[in-house]
């Protein structure tokens, strides 16, 4: 059952059922077919980026403007009242009076839920600390659906930092609806959190944990690669042990044996996880994935603002 998206907050991927995920993907597809260039005319989006994320911010702002809406906001909390000591609650109480919808990026986990409790306009979570980034998951799913033709019954390898990688946690939960088999490939220090694995298993997902792609590469339909984030390591020695541990390149993949229609996704930015030799292959869909942020965010904005039923 698809509950109406009108006026709904988009906080966590865990709040959506399978039909609702598919509904947004269908809508995103529609956004690519038809120019809805004025359906959000007169609507104002407040784009509040307390933590910088240029890509996410620009894709929301672009999506809003392509639909005829207006954007206000800031890209850095250093220039707002927060710098003067204003609390997030107070900022939201004031800004909600200026807009029809809020997109919030904040370094504290749970900040989007807090904003949604305070604001009477819908709030979209554009990343709250290490917790959730649901629109990223929608665009990851959309990319898988478009490039594989289906999301049902795929075998997915998640590679890299699985401990802190919130995109991995959210995407694995979402893919659990579609009968995916999952391989979690990471160094021991960056393994998928136990409670994530437990939740996936309770939802009947076949999960495997590995330290290397060797031996399993032939089974994979999708590799979802993530960056090992230097800033997560308190000890630089520990970081050096794992940096560049998975550096995918074209020759290596061909040598290991992979499916001809393998697709490689990455939420970007990359550092050295994927060699540029991959970029021109049909395996690499990460740039397309980044572009998919626009139709997906157009779909979410128009559904939440009630411009499309």
């Amino acid at each position: 059952m698809v509950r109406s998206f009108k006026h709904r907050d988009i906080i966590s991927i865990r709040h959506f059922n399978k039909e609702e995920l598919l509904y947004i993907l269908d809508l995103a597809n529609q956004m690519e077919q038809v120019d809805y260039n004025d359906i959000l005319k007169g609507k104002v989006l407040a784009s509040l980026f307390f933590e910088p994320s240029t890509r996410t911010r620009l894709s929301f702002e672009s999506a809003m403007q392509k639909l005829g809406g207006i954007v206000i906001g800031f890209a850095d909390s250093g220039i707002t009242s927060t710098a003067k000591g204003e609390s997030l609650s107070d900022s939201i109480k004031i800004i909600k009076g200026y807009c029809d919808i809020i997109v919030l990026r904040h370094y504290l986990e749970g900040s989007a839920r807090l904003a949604a409790d305070i604001a009477d306009v819908p709030v979209i979570n554009a990343g709250d600390g290490a917790n959730q980034h649901p629109t990223q998951t929608f665009l990851d799913l959309y990319t898988i659906q478009k490039t594989k033709g289906t999301m049902e019954g795929l075998t997915i390898g998640f590679l890299g930092d699985l401990k802190y990688g919130r995109t991995v946690h959210s995407l694995s939960y979402a893919l659990a609806y579609f009968g995916a088999e999952m391989f979690f490939i990471s160094p021991p220090s960056l393994r998928m959190p136990g409670d994530c694995i437990e939740e996936l298993r309770s939802r009947k997902v076949k999960c495997h944990e590995n330290e290397s792609l060797f031996g399993i590469s032939k089974k994979l339909d999708v590799i979802y690669c993530t960056r090992i984030q230097k800033e997560r390591f308190a000890d630089p020695v520990e970081f050096e042990k794992v940096r560049g541990i998975y550096r995918l390149n074209r020759a290596m993949l061909e040598e290991m044996g992979i499916k001809g229609d393998l697709k490689i996704l990455h939420p970007l930015p990359r550092v050295d996880e994927m060699d540029e030799s991959l970029d021109s292959t049909d395996f690499a869909v990460y740039f397309q994935q980044a572009r998919n942020g626009i139709p997906v965010r157009k779909a979410i904005l128009s559904a939440v603002l009630g411009a499309i039923e």
């Binding site: 966590s12 865990r14 609390s87 997030l88 609650s89 904040h106 370094y107 504290l108 986990e109 749970g110 900040s111 839920r113 807090l114 709250d128 600390g129 290490a130 917790n131 959730q132 409670d195």
Partner: protein, 149 residues
């Protein structure tokens, strides 16, 4: 052996069937060191229900709902008797509420509820054993993670 004086109190509250090891934590919740009237704390008393139990009797105090909610997280089997004129006027078992507000701190140091004077809010997703999900950051806490405010 001479019977110890753990006799009835005239007015107040008796918290019975506390899991023995949790008795002093419950005493903490009830802030007994600041009581003016008689307080009796018993530990390792024999109990058909629990094997060993703790009991706390507080003269002159009627415990409130917030205290009951806190006790339910630490001693889920506890029962409460309210005494007036040596008579039990009210008797109930503590029960874990569905939502816990303002009494347990979220254990995630990066959670928004630990900043800006926000009242913590945890959703009880399992009562026995206790599993709480933070309304804000969605982290799941078990008994060992519980820190009372």
């Amino acid at each position: 052996m001479k019977q110890l004086d753990v006799s009835a109190i005239k007015d107040g509250s008796v918290i019975d069937h506390i899991d023995s090891k949790s008795t002093l934590k419950v005493a903490d919740i009830l802030n007994i060191q600041n009581e003016e009237q008689m307080v009796l704390v018993g530990i390792n008393l024999s109990s058909k229900l629990l094997g060993k139990k703790g009991i706390i009797k507080i003269g002159g105090k009627i415990i409130d709902q917030k205290e009951v909610n806190k006790i339910s997280l630490i001693a889920p089997n506890a029962s409460v008797n309210i005494i007036k004129d040596y008579e039990v006027v009210k008797k109930f078992k503590v029960a874990v509420p569905d939502i816990i507000e303002g009494i347990v701190k979220c254990f995630n140091p990066n959670c928004v509820s630990n900043y800006n004077n926000i009242i913590s809010k945890l959703i009880v997703i399992n009562k026995n054993p206790i599993k709480l999900e933070c309304h804000y950051c969605e982290r799941i806490m078990g008994t060992k993670d519980i820190v009372l405010i």
